[in-house]
């Protein structure tokens, strides 16, 4: 059933009793051609593109909890394509282009809102680093602007310009960056996949992976054993656990990232802004709450929650940037499990086991990548070849010395 204002109108007349479920709730079949482990943003997007772009059938997505219960439901909704390394930005720009057409593509209003992402800088070296990044974007035709202090002040007059410990000197702006309603992305991809025959199986946890002579045979789940020809792993946060089931050890550590929302307010901040003198980034949702966050707590964790010192760090940075935040109230805090990789960049690659494909290592930047990750992972699974924007995301790049390290922090996951 197609969603539209007209369909709402006709359903209103019948008391909204005739809406069809957005997706079925099927029992798992004994075998599929392709199984995707992980019913989050990336897993569902992969299934969607496998079905839509590559017209494959007999696909299942296995999700251990409820649909979208992982990081797709917990992130701070930011989209941007402002990475600087040649192995990275073309991929994120592919994602941005997919975002731009997404709602019409999967007939679900994901509220893609390109209101701009502004990264503030406070010192000359920071400005130079942003210039390097901005020019890396521009050289490939991606929008970027370097703003001076006055231009930033015009956009955001209520930031601290006069009393700051680290005065704002300017910013790097990507106007096409912005936010997307995260739950809607999961639901849109789920509905779109289901509509094309993909079985989305919730409450189905993969317990072990069965292989024979170096090739995948199937998965043992909480709802029985399921045979598959190809297995795509997209269980960010738990990538190490799942990969270990196939005897694969990964360059990944799981870390907690906290995120927060304030009480709902009338418009207070228009776009997405990141502070350059402390870890803090903020945007305002369409419901009025300020959605914000900062750095990792720093310790390995699967608990999906953090502690007070990081809450303080984040808020201190926020108030340093916008003194008026002081009187606004934090409403809720939560956390997710991040797949922190050893160079801060993701992995989309085959593995040493035939038929097993890996999508992992997204650190805390996975949301913006959702469409391209799904598309490229689907491409890899369907064609056994990487999509051309994702060729640098090989698992063996660490062994061979081709790291994609945007922050320059090296083999210490919690610094990325």
């Amino acid at each position: 059933m197609k969603y539209s204002a007209f369909s709402i109108f006709t359903n209103a007349l019948s008391g909204h009793k005739n809406w069809q479920p957005a997706w079925r709730n099927p029992d798992p079949k004994p075998a599929y051609d392709i199984i995707i482990v992980g019913g989050g943003g990336h897993g569902l997007a992969t299934a969607y593109y496998l079905a839509k772009e590559f017209e494959l059938k007999n696909i299942a997505v296995l999700e251990k909890g409820w649909l979208g219960s992982g990081n797709i439901g917990r992130n701070t909704t930011i989209i941007r394509s402002n990475y600087m390394l040649p192995g990275n930005n073309p991929f994120y720009e592919l994602s941005m282009k997919l975002w731009e057409g997404l709602e019409q593509d999967f007939n679900f209003n994901a509220m893609v809102s390109q209101r701009g992402v502004l990264n503030l800088y406070h010192t000359d070296p920071q400005r130079d680093a942003f210039a390097r990044r901005g020019n890396a974007m521009r050289i490939d035709g991606v929008d970027a602007e370097l703003l001076d202090r006055d231009a930033v002040r015009e956009m955001y007059p209520h930031f601290d310009y006069d009393n700051a410990r680290f005065p704002i000197r300017g910013g790097l702006l990507q106007r096409r960056g912005g936010t997307v309603r995260h739950d809607a992305v999961a639901w849109g991809y789920a509905r779109g996949s289901d509509m094309r025959g993909v079985d989305i199986i919730q409450n189905c946890e993969v317990k072990s992976i069965r292989t024979e002579q170096g090739r995948v045979v199937g998965v043992e789940t909480s709802r029985g054993f399921i045979v598959c020809k190809k297995l795509g792993l997209a269980a960010a946060g738990h990538s190490s656990e799942v990969a270990a089931m196939a005897g694969i050890k990964l360059p990944i550590e799981s870390h907690v990232l906290q995120a927060f929302v304030s009480e709902g307010l009338k418009p207070f901040i228009d776009g997405v802004v990141t502070f350059g003198a402390g870890h803090f980034y903020v945007s305002q949702s369409d419901k009025g709450g300020l959605v914000f966050g900062g750095d990792l707590d720093g310790y390995n964790s699967y608990a999906r929650r953090g502690n007070l010192p990081m809450v303080e760090h984040v808020v201190e940075a926020g108030v340093a940037m916008i003194p008026a935040l002081s009187r606004i109230r934090l409403l809720r805090s939560w956390g997710g499990v991040m797949d922190m990789s050893m160079d801060g960049s993701p992995i989309i690659d085959k593995t040493s086991v035939q038929g097993i494909y890996l999508n992992a290592g997204w650190c805390y930047g996975g949301f913006k990548a959702t469409p391209a990750s799904g598309f490229c992972f689907a491409h890899l699974i369907a064609k056994d070849e990487p999509q051309h924007t994702a060729t640098a995301y090989r698992l063996d790049r660490f062994r061979r010395g081709y790291m994609l390290d945007e922050k320059g922090q090296g083999a210490t996951p919690n610094l990325h």
């Binding site: 190490s240 062994r399 210490t412």
Partner: protein
């Protein structure tokens, strides 16, 4: 989170910096044939959900490096020993 520093007593988490898995051991040889061991040491991680031995630095206190045994799912801390003692026990 409170960490029981063997020198300073129970101290709050903000006094500490975390480095990661303490189990991997730095290989002894520089023979190129040992590259896989070095790669494992620098890059590959078990990343367990459950008990985990991690390097922790009391950077805001006694400046000791320690190994904390902590459950990564519940954050419950089981032990905290000086890194040199942990490493001695390993070898």
């Amino acid at each position: 989170m409170l960490i029981p520093c063997p020198h300073c007593g129970i101290r709050p988490v903000e006094e500490f910096t975390f480095l990661g898995d303490a189990k991997p051991q730095r290989p002894q040889s520089n023979d190129p044939a040992t590259m896989d061991q070095w790669f494992d040491y620098v890059y590959l991680r078990d990343n367990p959900r459950g008990l985990f031995d991690e390097y922790v630095h009391h950077s805001g206190g006694c400046r000791s490096w320690m190994v904390v045994t902590r459950n990564t799912e519940t954050h419950e801390i089981k032990a905290c020993v000086p890194a040199r003692d942990y490493k001695k026990k390993q070898s």
